[in-house]
């Protein structure tokens, strides 16, 4: 069981965060999380390397979850993504 605040803290200390959303998909049980992470640190990294980076960063926490999914963006990509949503 992983605490949402702990998860957030781990992310924020490791890289510059423009935008972060964390959703507990296990209805409050802390066993399954989905995150949206926007950071300029992702610039120049392809999708696989971004995911690997996050998986590595949160290795200890992910090991205690049943499921973990992530969406990653650079700040520019996130702007474009939001524009498309309208």
């Amino acid at each position: 069981m992983i605490n949402l605040a702990d998860l957030e803290a781990a992310i924020r200390t490791a890289l510059p965060v423009s935008h972060l959303e964390i959703e507990d998909q296990s209805s409050g049980c802390g066993e399954s999380y989905a995150i949206v992470l926007v950071s300029e640190a992702f610039d120049g990294k392809n999708t696989l390397s971004r995911h690997r980076f996050v998986n590595d960063l949160l290795k200890a926490q992910i090991a205690q979850m049943h499921a973990f999914s992530q969406k990653t963006f650079t700040p520019k990509q996130y702007e474009d993504y939001l524009a498309k949503q309208c």
């Binding site: 392809n46 999708t47 696989l48 995911h51 999914s69 969406k71 990653t72 990509q77 993504y81």
Partner: protein
Amino acid sequence: MSNYHEVTSPSHFQQLLSSDLNRVSVLNFWAEWAEPCKQMNAVTVELANKYPSVLFLQIEAEAQSDISESFDIESVPSLILLRGHTLLQRISGADAPALTTAVAKFASSPSINPLSRTDLPPAKASNAVIEVADPSEDLESRMTRLMNQSKVVLFMKGSPDAPRCGFSRRMTGLLRDQKVDFTHFDILSDEGVRQGLKKRNDWPTFPQLIVNGEFVGGLDIVQEMVENGEFVETLAV
């Protein structure tokens, strides 16, 4: 009586049997000089009358030696019960009660009934590449070969038409939506490859998508790549 015949030749025999392969037949191997055969012959006539759906074939054992040999007949009378070409029972000797019981039993059991029926056309052939196991191939080489078996290879649980996990199912759906040609490998069928690929690709889960022999990602990653345009780029190589 149309269900009672004296067999005159092997081809006559085949013709009679093949006319209905669901039908039970009683083959009565007999000989003129063997007294007990008279009794069994009488019994078969009686049974033929009683069970019109059963085929009764009188086979003079010595005259039809080819047929006798093919059934390993060593003595007369001998009775063979078949359904189509399937052997149901052999009876050696003039055992009238055994024959009567056997005919009663098999004549009343249903002929082949399908367990299910469908109107659907046959499923499209699977994309799995047929493998020939080579014992000398070690796991590393095997994984390399599998990852290169086609431009796009999906390592998944189950198969595209019968996925065994939600993530594998969604990945298949995504690839089909993107109109990508791919082959697959069912990692549930091979524990060595399953564990080996996790280490090799440094990725803990399945499905795993491989393009041009290189690991691209799992479901999340491929989904993201589709959304940000990276997927099309990867395939264009």
